[in-house]
Homo-oligomer: 510 residues x 3
């Protein structure tokens, strides 16, 4: 009896530690190839191996994963990929898959190993997720930034070195490592192979590919096999845990700064309060994810990505790796909030003025490239379905009425700041579009940038999520309003300084 | 034996999940009315029902709640309300209570249901808490803001749209939805009923009241029954958990911005460190709450609200929903920190200059409306009693000596900034009280606002709670000092610009 | 059987609560002296006693602590201190140790008790840790700040009161309590004894020493026995838990503000994401600390202080209370990032210009006082060893290449801002070194300070830890670049204002 008790205890303890229950299909066998990898890597990179061992990948084979009931499935293939169907998904299964497609494949102890596992590799078992992610604007985050000349000049305004000539400071050059350590860190680097280099290791002399743009975990990473994206951005290596991806800390890596304060807003929202207070008791590993039973309040994933059901087993929201299909608006202003772009690749957008922007400088949307009202209504309805699990219709209606109003009013406040910057350009007190100069590189232009990139965005995120002071004093309406006053004063100061300088009274020092 | 083991396991597991132990009085029976509600709402709003099922309300009847020993009681009535004494406190018990008093009562499947459960409803079982909350300045948060013309003009300075005329930007209008999404979100909206509207539901066509000012969870909400406050602001629906209310994340919803950075200060304080490091092992559900046994370091609730005892069973601090009865000072400067107001309704305050402010512009307190030194001493003594559970007298004395000094010095720094703004008005470089203009709507005036609302407040909160950098570089003394220098320079720049403009050299563009 | 089950359950429950397992040496006996303390203090300061009871100190005697295997040891003496070897380390063991050395020793119920337990007291059992901490720059944090005239003037720029004369505001005086509540709060106060005072207590009239500089928990505290430091800054009283010290919240107390945003950066890093998502399942009490098994991602302690091993039992990183021996650079710019100082006491440093700074104003390091390239390489190698447990060489190399580049580029951006401030001094628009005035007390000078103290630091911390937006929009490169533009404009505005004032057009108001 004592023994039986102990066994039960052991199972209880295991069940408590392992919050993503591995279905009772028996643990998966590890392939010989992966066993060979582990032979060295358990010693060489023990942290990776330990992390992987806790994963679903290490414990469930693709063919067993397929046996789960429809809503419990974590794979989306119809038939498992032959070569890897019967074993755990280990080192070899991912890092030696389809070796010819990967420019970073190298000979490694008799294996053709590639360093960068790409979405195409993941698609062997998760084709639907990879397909959806291709429609997610995040998968195009690299090109959408660096191939759009307007956004690239904003990037330069952050990253370029400067030089001071005694009166004015001007942008000079920028280097690749800085960009990769800055904007491109989240947007995703372009990973390239620059030959092979040999190096002494604990296992003797070995050859490895030389990568540039590495390390890289950004959502729009350009991979050596030509694909875009990094699933590990959210499903962190090497546990690739759904639990981690569902927790808001994961999203915070790229969504916390003043430009996209989504995480900070969430934290002070009532939903975030509940997560902060009670989240440690919720079940983040359950598939599907049952509202009320598994969690009390939504996290980022609940509203934007996860498969959510109710206790009756009805699907409340479908799993989506496109992620914006419940979002009527792109709240992120460029410079104005606008209906979501139709295409994940936003470099194709041109407004009437010929600029690669989703709105005119007046705020008018570049409608042809953006979803229409019907699609907005559809998306809003999908989102509302989730809200309605815990809130009555009048509550939800009231909430979205305020959000619509906030989109409108914050765009108005962006417009007022745009009027000031247009006046600055017209008066010759700053150099902008008319002089074919960057619109983001002078002090007053940067104040304009902060109006929409920081303050209007913060206010809109707060409105969307109930983020209290992020719509008021914490980079919210107070700053939108104050910034306009400061911009107007700054313009007056520029004018006063300019006149003195024209009169020949300023001499360069240094 | 195996079965017995399983039962014990089950109980162990239950005990671990249910951190607010439901005394062994047997689970409460659910009333027929509530059962009728659940019949549909388990399907229609499953999240609400699941949340409620975990609550004390769902599991303990009022008459059983009364049987608990004095210090363990969570109700404050003498005799349970007849109609609901014997059953769980469910949907019907709260939402159909006293239907005539509620303007939002409507016919719903044969029941007279009201949407907004008010403090008066809660008072059926918690009369003392509701009475105390009525003395809490938070219960008057709506009127204290919108009915005080000075504060209302600060609110407008945040929320109003603006217009740029080519030289200056001016405030224009503000709409109700913006206010409800901004300041009023925390202060509490006025919820009003605008008729009844019929709508298609999954249960067929039904009628519902049309509410404005909804959704609403602000602490000073004006309810359709005329009462003030929302208990659910902290005791979040529909678990109404004491655990949640005791955790600092709950307070963070309204106390995190630069104006009231209490939560951020707490997080970096030694107390907050301990909560962040070890809080997951503390017992937040115990009533009463035993220092040392249930928790190692205080949360917001410990110092300001909770019933705290020591292991000997002595009461260290009484439960208080008035919440300021351990606070000698109102650290929140308007514009100066001052002894706490006597009345929760602060609209009655008038300073010597006739302004509805608790101090003069010089800092002198409007003493008649504020607690006197004797009351301050008494409140300080109540707070000290809590500190002394873990700190020796010399530690506590030293701490409060620094706080008193910080109140004094931060008020001095507010005074210096006030001198600058008075000079700006006098020189005609900004329009203020003398011109009957808002004192908060121009750039330099907003710098003045930030001096006391952001920097002096942050410094004082940091001093009160050991908040380290929030008293130095994080919106603290560095900013108080820098802001004065920037205001003085800004005044010089305004003067230079003003002269140029008088000479007719500025022409309006646009 | 049922009983046996219950016993096992109890042990299971205990094991789950007690995450720092107390080796099975039997609980330590409490000394008679400590028993005497507890007699009153269990009632008088129950929080302290409850906290201590959970500690290793309360449960393991020094002689038992010594019996642990080498890597599991938490003490570093060769032989236990005689007087306290056989009992728990309780109140008396620490607070009556070596009474003559402590100026704060007083007669207390027949015992010679000192209030402030110093590193020298801790050294009775932990001599190596105390010795290492003496080489930690933090142990000199008090003197390094207040005895360096340049840094002291920065401190004054934050803490001094000001006076406005109608045109300019100037720094006036500062008081001791403000400094202790501000910079010195983290750096550590000087604790001094100012006599003995008698006071009524619950145990009758008693005498206690009067301390100034108290309370105090700063890392460089000057203790009444002349030693420097406070072990309790991280090993919080009175559990002195290694778990707490290993959790990042502990470091956040002093490393969260805009000057040292290490904690904020960590939180949004991938490592911090994992800690935020999964950290509640990690074992923070294990000694030694096994990578992969006990934790998945590093905390502050992992990289900078802890004894880390791999599952094979190899030492990955030695325990270090010097803490900078894995840090090649001092990323914290003063004003430029520089190789780490050799000596913990940095007041000995003089640059070529004769200033007590680790670099020239041009950025050139004061090389003689700083570690050389060889030592940098050695330190970098120690840090890399930790990274390599979970990351391949190419990943780690790429990471550090970016960090080196960021050190270089952020120093360049500091240099550009220095050029502007030098121009301001030369033009007479601000008073700096040449006028023997503080270099930090005017508005434009404070903008310069923020360039390196806030923005360059934030960018470097983000680069070192993968802190995403803290290197871009959250006090990162965007602000470095914008600040230079604003400083250049401000200089033009100062010039315009200055000219008007010379022409006699400004009259002082007030």
């Amino acid at each position: 009896m004592k023994k039986r008790c102990t066994v039960v205890f052991g199972m209880l303890a295991a069940a408590m530690l392992l919050s993503e229950p591995l279905a009772a299909y028996g643990a998966a066998k590890i392939s010989d190839d992966t066993q060979a990898c582990l032979g060295c890597h358990e010693t060489v990179t023990p942290g990776i191996v330990a992390d992987w061992k806790k994963s679903q990948h290490a414990n469930v084979s693709p063919e067993d994963a397929l046996k789960r009931p429809l809503l419990e499935k974590r794979v989306s293939f119809k038939t498992p990929p032959k070569a890897i169907q019967a074993t755990a998904v280990g080192c070899a299964e991912c890092h030696t898959l389809n070796p010819k497609a990967h420019k970073d494949t190298f000979d490694h102890n008799g294996f053709k190993v590639h360093v960068v596992v790409s979405p195409k590799d993941c698609a062997a078992c998760h084709p639907q997720e990879v397909d959806e992610y291709g429609q997610n604007i995040m998968s195009e985050a690299h090109g959408n930034l660096v191939k759009n000349p307007v956004y690239k000049s904003l990037m330069d305004a952050a990253n370029c070195m400067q030089k001071f000539d005694g009166v004015r400071a001007r942008l000079t050059t920028v280097d690749k490592l800085t960009e990769e350590d800055s904007c491109i860190y989240c947007h995703g680097t372009k990973v390239e192979v620059n030959g092979i280099k040999s190096r002494e290791t604990s296992m003797g002399e070995m050859e490895f590919p030389v990568l540039s743009g590495w390390p890289s975990g950004g959502v729009g990473r350009i991979n050596p096999d030509g694909t875009k994206g990094a699933c590990s951005a959210c499903h962190t290596r090497h546990a690739f845990s759904i639990e981690t991806a569902r927790k808001p800390a994961t999203c915070s890596e790229c969504h916390k700064g003043p430009d996209v304060p989504a995480y900070k807003v969430y934290q002070v929202s009532k939903h975030g309060n509940l997560y902060g207070s009670e989240g440690d008791k919720w079940n983040f590993g359950a598939v599907p994810w049952t509202v009320g039973k598994d969690f009390t309040a939504p996290t980022c994933a609940t509203c934007h990505a996860s498969l959510v059901v109710n206790e009756a087993g009805d699907v409340v929201a479908k799993r989506s790796h496109k992620m914006n299909d419940r979002s009527a608006w792109r709240l992120f202003g460029l410079p104005y909030a606008h209906p979501h772009p139709k295409s994940a690749d936003t470099t194709i957008i041109k407004n009437k003025a010929g600029l690669p922007l989703p709105t005119e400088l007046t705020g008018e949307p570049a409608a042809g490239y953006l979803i229409d009202k019907k699609e907005q209504t559809k998306r809003r309805a999908s989102m509302r379905e989730i809200c309605l699990q815990c809130h009555a219709t009048s509550w939800v209606d009231g909430h979205f009425a305020r959000l619509e109003n906030t989109v409108e009013t914050t765009n108005q406040m962006t417009r007022v700041s745009t009027d000031i910057i247009l006046a600055a350009w017209k008066k010759g007190l700053a150099k902008g579009l008319d002089k074919k100069d960057s619109t983001f590189n002078e002090a007053i232009e940067r104040m304009w940038v902060e109006q929409w990139l920081f303050y209007a965005n913060s206010t809109r995120f707060a409105s969307a999520m109930g983020g209290a002071d992020y719509g008021v004093f914490a980079d919210g309406r107070w700053y939108m309003s104050k910034n306009i006053q400061q911009m107007a004063d700054w313009l007056r100061f520029l004018e006063a300084a300019h006149k003195g300088e024209k009169n020949g009274n300023v001499k360069k020092v240094k």
